[in-house]
C-alpha cells in the first residue's frame, strides 16, 4: 500500500514539475520581453538625446554661377547628415516648391561649403528665396535671401548738410539695416534713387554716383551704407526732396531727405550756430509757434506767431496753467478750410499725483519699442529680450491702453539686469504690472521672478495651476515661504488684469488685482533678507520653465516702498497709453483784448498719448492735436486767434515752448493752420527813425566775431516794393565799423546788436530816406568768422514786423 501511494506521488510530482516548468518558462519569457522593451526605450532616449545634441548654422549663403552656395557649420556635438534641401521662390509664385536630396555629412566643428552647387536649380539675383535644410535626425534650419519685399526694412536717408547755399553740394547718406524678423539674409542690395522732387526753380545735379554700386550680402542685424553727392541750385527757401527705395523692395518702404537752399551753411563753414533772439527764421507763415513772452497779450497769456523759438525755453504745467496762446492783431488774414494741427512737445508724469515723488529705487517698463526693454527711470539698464528662440513678440498696440506690449508664448522671457534699484533684499517692496493671460493653459505660469542662482531664495509672482494669482517669496533656505494667493476667480481669462504685489514687512504680503485686495496670505519664516542674482519676466529663468502665455505691459517695481491701497487704486486707473491725458481744446477768434467773438473749433476731452520723459523729464517726443474745419476763417486786423488748452484729467503734463535748443524732431510746440494768404503780425516792433537793438544767441561751440561789412537789417514793404536797410552800429555797446569788428562772442552767450535806423539809401547817420511806418518783412544778414577758422554767413527772416 505504501508503495502504491508512493507511485501516485511520483506521478503527481511529474505533473507538478511539468506545470512549474511551464510557468517558469512563461516568466522567463516575460522578463526577456521586458528587457527588450527596456532596451528599446533606452535606444529611443539615446536617439532623442542625439537629436537634441545635433545643431548647425547656415553661416553664409551666396549665388555662385547661378546656383546657391550655402555654407554650413556644425555647432553641435555629434556628426550630422544633411538629407534634404527645400527651396521656395518667394518672388515668382508660378515657381513650384522644390526639394533636392543631399547626403552631406558634417562632423562637429566642421564647415562645409558649396551646398546647393550640385543641384540642378538656377537662381536669380533679383528674386527672393526661402530655403530649408533637413538633417537625417529631423532637425532643420530655415533661411531666406534677397527678399526685401517680405517686410519693411529700416531705411534712413540723411542729407549732410540739410541746408546749402545756391550751387553748393550735399552728400546723401543712405543706410539699410537688415532688421527682418526671420533671420533673413539679404543679397545684392541695390538702392534706387527716385526722381528728386523740387520746389520753385530748384535744380539738382548728380556729382558722384552711388558708392558702392551694391552690397552683395547683408546678414540679419547688419547695416549697409551708400552715398551720393549732389549739387543743389535755386533760390532761398526752395528745396529738393530725395527719396530712395530698394530694388525688389516692398512698396512704400522708402526713405526721404529734403535739402533746403539758404544762405546759411553753418555746419559746413564754421561749425558754430548762431540764433537770433526775438526774431523768426525761415519759418513758414502757417506755423504759429508758442512763445514764452506775454507782452502785448490779453491777460498775460502767451504769444503765438510764425517766428522761431527765441529763448532758452519755458516748461508749462498744462494741468495747472491751462495755457492760452494769442496771435497779435494788426493784420488781416484769411485762412483756408482744412485741418488745423497743434504739434505739442511734452512729457507725461511717470505716476499719478499720489505717487509723483516715489521715483527713486525703482524701475518702470512701458515696452514702447520692439527692442530690449528700457527702464524709464534710467535707474537700471542692460536688460535683454530673451534668447533668439525665446524672444517675446512685440505688439505695438496690444497694451491695456492701446500702447506697445510684449506677448509671451510659454517659453519667452525678458531678463532684467539686477541692479541696486531692483535688488529686493529687505522689505518694503512693490511690483505692479498688467497681464492678459491666455485661457486654457495648464500648469503654473510665471509673471515676474527674482531668484538666487541656486533658487534658495526667491521673489515670485505668477498664476498657479488653478488659475489663481499668487505672490510668494522665500527669505532663507529650508525655511517657509510667505505667500499671498487669490481664490475663487479665474484670472486666466483673456482679459487684462492689473496686479500689484506689495511686501510691507519682511514676512508679510498683500496682493491686489484691479486695485482690490484678493489675497489669502500665509506668513513664512526666515531671515527676511531675499538675496537674488537674476530677474525674469514671463518665465522662471532662461531655461525657461513655467512660461507665461499671454501679454504683459507696464511693469513697475519699487525696491524700497510698499504701495498703499489708495496709490494702487490711482495706479490702476492710470492710462499709460493713448489717453494718458484728457485736454479740452478751443480755437477762437477774439477781439484785441482777448474777448471771444466766435469759435473756430472745440474738442472736448481730447485724448493725448503718454509721452515718456525718462528720468529727467526730457522732451523726446511730440503728439498732434488735429481738428478739421469745414469753412475758411477770416481774421480782421482788430482780431486775434487764441489757442486755448484746458486740462481735464489724467497724468500731469509738462509742455515745452520757445526753446531754441530744440531744433530738430520734435520741434517746439506750435499751431499749424491751413493755408493762409498773409502772415499774422509778430510781436516785434521797430522804431523807424531810431536805432534798434536785437539780441543774438550763440549756440557754440566756438567764439565768433561779427563784422560790419556783411551785417545788415533789410525791410521790404508788404504792400509796395519799397525797401530799406539798417547798418550795424554796435555790439554790446561797443562800436563796430569797417575797421573794427565786434567784441568776441563766446558760445552760449547773448550779444546785443544795435542797428541804425532803416533808410534808403542805407547810412549810419542822417535822416534822408528814413523808413515810413507800416508792416514790413524784416531780414537780418550776418557776416563774421569764428576762432576755428570758419566763416559765418547767416540770413534770418523775422517775418512781418510793425515799424512805427
Amino acid at each position: 500500500m505504501k508503495y502504491r501511494r508512493g507511485l501516485s506521488s511520483v506521478i503527481g510530482m511529474i505533473f507538478l514539475v511539468v506545470v512549474l516548468s511551464s510557468v517558469l518558462g512563461y516568466f522567463t519569457y516575460g522578463i526577456h520581453l521586458v528587457e527588450q522593451v527596456n532596451d528599446q526605450v533606452i535606444s529611443k532616449g539615446m536617439e532623442n538625446i542625439d537629436k537634441s545634441r545635433e545643431d548647425f548654422e547656415i553661416t553664409n549663403i551666396r549665388i555662385d554661377s547661378g546656383k546657391f552656395n550655402l555654407t554650413v557649420f556644425n555647432t553641435g556635438e555629434i556628426p550630422l547628415n544633411l538629407t534634404r534641401f527645400w527651396i521656395n521662390n518667394v518672388t515668382d509664385s508660378s515657381w513650384p516648391l522644390q526639394n533636392f536630396t543631399l547626403n552631406t555629412i558634417v562632423t562637429p566643428k566642421q564647415i562645409v561649403t558649396n551646398i546647393g552647387q550640385e543641384t540642378e536649380l538656377y537662381a536669380l539675383d533679383s528674386q527672393a528665396y526661402s530655403m530649408k535644410l533637413i538633417t537625417q535626425r529631423g532637425n532643420s534650419k530655415e533661411i531666406s535671401i534677397n527678399s526685401p519685399n517680405q517686410e519693411k526694412l529700416d531705411l534712413k536717408l540723411i542729407a549732410l548738410p540739410e541746408t546749402v547755399p545756391d550751387k553748393f553740394r550735399t552728400t546723401l547718406l543712405f543706410t539699410v539695416t537688415n532688421n527682418m524678423t526671420n533671420q533673413n539674409t539679404l543679397l545684392n542690395i541695390k538702392p534706387i534713387m527716385n526722381t528728386p522732387q523740387t520746389t520753385g526753380t530748384a535744380t539738382h545735379m548728380l556729382i558722384t554716383s552711388m558708392v558702392p554700386t551694391h552690397v552683395p550680402i547683408l546678414r540679419q542685424g547688419d547695416a549697409a551704407s551708400f552715398i551720393w553727392i549732389y549739387e543743389i541750385s535755386g533760390s532761398i527757401g526752395e528745396s529738393v526732396t530725395f527719396t530712395v527705395s530698394l530694388e525688389n523692395g516692398i512698396s512704400g518702404n522708402t526713405a526721404s531727405a529734403t535739402v533746403s537752399i539758404n544762405d546759411v551753411l553753418l555746419a559746413q563753414q564754421s561749425t558754430t550756430a548762431l540764433t537770433a533772439t526775438s526774431v523768426s527764421g525761415n519759418t513758414a507763415k502757417d506755423l504759429l509757434f508758442f512763445h514764452a513772452e506775454t507782452e502785448q497779450t490779453p491777460n498775460n497769456a502767451f504769444q503765438m506767431y510764425a517766428g522761431d523759438p527765441d529763448i532758452i525755453g519755458n516748461t508749462i504745467s498744462v494741468e495747472t496753467d491751462n495755457p492760452k496762446f494769442f496771435t497779435n492783431n494788426g493784420t488781416s488774414v484769411n485762412i483756408s478750410q482744412g485741418v488745423w494741427n497743434a504739434s505739442l512737445t511734452y512729457f507725461s508724469a511717470p505716476f499719478p499725483d499720489s505717487l509723483i515723488d516715489n521715483n527713486n529705487n525703482n524701475m518702470i517698463f512701458h515696452f514702447e519699442l520692439n527692442s530690449a526693454p528700457e527702464d524709464s527711470t534710467e535707474n537700471t539698464s542692460g536688460h535683454a529680450l530673451g534668447s533668439s528662440s525665446n524672444r517675446p513678440t512685440y505688439q505695438s498696440t496690444s497694451g491695456p491702453h492701446g500702447s506697445g506690449a510684449f506677448s509671451f508664448d510659454g517659453s519667452d522671457y525678458i531678463e532684467i539686469n539686477k541692479e541696486s534699484e531692483n535688488d529686493i533684499h529687505r522689505s518694503p517692496d512693490s511690483t505692479a504690472l498688467w497681464f492678459k493671460a491666455t485661457d486654457g493653459i495648464s500648469g503654473k505660469q510665471i509673471l515676474y521672478r527674482a531668484t538666487e542662482n541656486n533658487n534658495d531664495e526667491y521673489y515670485e509672482i505668477g498664476i498657479d495651476s488653478n488659475d489663481n494669482v499668487y505672490f510668494e517669496f522665500l527669505t532663507q533656505k529650508n525655511k517657509i515661504p510667505t505667500k499671498c494667493i487669490s481664490s475663487g476667480f479665474d484670472y486666466e481669462n483673456n482679459n487684462w488684469q492689473h496686479l500689484v504685489a506689495t511686501r510691507p514687512t519682511d514676512q508679510s504680503c498683500t496682493l491686489y488685482i484691479n486695485a482690490t485686495s484678493v489675497n489669502t496670505s500665509s506668513v513664512g519664516t526666515g531671515d527676511g533678507d531675499i538675496n537674488i542674482d537674476k530677474i525674469f519676466i514671463g518665465a522662471e529663468d532662461d531655461n525657461p520653465n513655467y512660461g507665461f502665455n499671454g501679454i504683459i505691459d507696464d511693469v513697475l517695481h519699487w525696491d524700497d516702498y510698499a504701495l498703499l491701497s489708495g496709490e494702487i487704486s490711482d495706479l490702476k486707473n492710470t492710462n499709460y497709453g493713448n489717453a494718458a491725458h484728457l485736454v479740452t481744446f478751443y480755437i477762437n477768434k477774439t477781439d484785441a483784448n482777448g474777448i471771444v467773438e466766435s469759435n473756430i473749433a472745440t474738442s472736448l476731452n481730447y485724448p493725448l498719448k503718454f509721452l515718456d520723459g525718462k528720468k529727467d523729464g526730457d522732451f523726446l517726443n511730440s503728439f498732434n492735436y488735429s481738428s478739421a474745419i469745414g469753412t475758411g476763417v477770416s481774421v480782421t486786423s482788430t482780431q486775434r486767434l487764441v489757442f486755448d488748452m484746458q486740462f481735464q484729467s489724467g497724468l500731469d503734463i509738462d509742455m515745452r515752448i520757445d526753446d531754441m535748443a530744440i531744433t530738430q524732431n520734435p520741434k517746439n510746440s506750435f499751431l499749424q493752420t491751413p493755408n493762409l494768404n498773409s502772415s499774422f503780425q509778430s510781436y516785434i516792433t521797430i522804431i523807424g527813425d531810431q536805432s534798434n537793438t536785437l539780441k543774438m544767441y550763440s549756440a557754440g561751440p566756438d567764439t565768433v566775431w561779427i563784422t560790419f561789412d556783411n551785417t545788415r537789417l533789410t525791410f521790404s514793404d508788404t504792400i509796395s516794393s519799397n525797401t530799406y536797410a539798417s547798418l550795424l552800429l554796435q555790439a554790446n555797446g561797443t562800436d563796430v565799423t569797417s575797421n573794427k569788428d565786434s567784441i568776441a562772442f563766446p558760445p552760449f552767450t547773448t550779444l546785443n546788436l544795435t542797428f541804425s535806423s532803416a533808410k534808403n539809401p542805407p547810412s549810419t547817420s542822417g535822416s534822408v530816406g528814413v523808413i515810413p511806418p507800416g508792416n514790413y518783412v524784416m531780414k537780418m544778414h550776418l557776416g563774421g568768422y569764428d576762432v576755428a577758422g570758419g566763416t559765418i554767413s547767416k540770413s534770418i527772416n523775422f517775418g512781418t514786423v510793425l515799424v512805427e
Partner: protein, 153 residues
C-alpha cells in the same frame, strides 16, 4: 483457509482501487497540464503582441519636413512627413485645427505608408484655411504615434 481466501480478495480490490486512483491522477494531471499550457501560451501571445506593438511604436519616428500653402489665399495645404525611424509607418489621419475658433478638420489618409528615410506629401484642401492666421497641424499613425506643428497661412 478462510484467512488465506480473505487476504487474496483484499489484495485484488486494493490493486483495482489503486489503478483507478492512478488513472484519476493521470487524467487530472494531464488536464491540468493541458490547461496550464494553453493558458500560458495565450497570455504569452498577448504579451508578445503588446510588447511588439509598443516596441514598434517606440521605433516609429517622424517629422514634419515642410508644411506650406500651395496657393494665396491659402485653400490647400501640403504636408510633407519624413520617416526618420527604423520601421515603416502608416499615417492614417491628419488634423488641422485652430484653438481659438474651434476650427477642426480631420483628413483620413489612405496609402499613408512611409518606409524608413522616405517622405510622403499629403495635400489637404479647405477653402477656410485662409481665414486663420496660425493653424495647428497634427499627424497620427496607425500605431498611435502623434506629431504636431504649427503653420501660418
Amino acid at each position: 483457509m478462510k484467512l488465506k481466501q480473505s487476504k487474496h480478495r483484499r489484495g485484488l480490490a486494493t490493486i483495482i482501487t489503486s489503478a483507478i486512483m492512478m488513472s484519476a491522477v493521470c487524467m487530472m494531471g494531464s488536464a491540468g497540464v493541458v490547461w496550464s499550457q494553453s493558458s500560458l501560451a495565450t497570455q504569452q501571445a498577448d504579451m508578445t503582441n503588446t510588447a511588439s506593438n509598443y516596441m514598434n511604436k517606440l521605433k516609429e519616428s517622424m517629422v514634419f519636413e515642410y508644411v506650406y500653402c500651395t496657393s494665396d489665399p491659402c485653400n490647400q495645404m501640403n504636408v510633407v512627413i519624413t520617416n526618420i525611424g527604423d520601421v515603416g509607418l502608416d499615417i492614417d489621419e491628419i488634423t488641422v485645427s485652430e484653438k481659438m475658433s474651434g476650427f477642426n478638420k480631420i483628413q483620413l489618409v489612405n496609402n499613408g505608408q512611409i518606409m524608413p528615410n522616405d517622405s510622403l506629401k499629403i495635400a489637404i484642401d479647405d477653402a477656410s484655411f485662409s481665414s486663420y492666421g496660425v493653424l495647428d497641424v497634427m499627424a497620427k499613425t496607425s500605431r498611435g504615434s502623434i506629431i504636431q506643428t504649427q503653420t501660418s497661412t
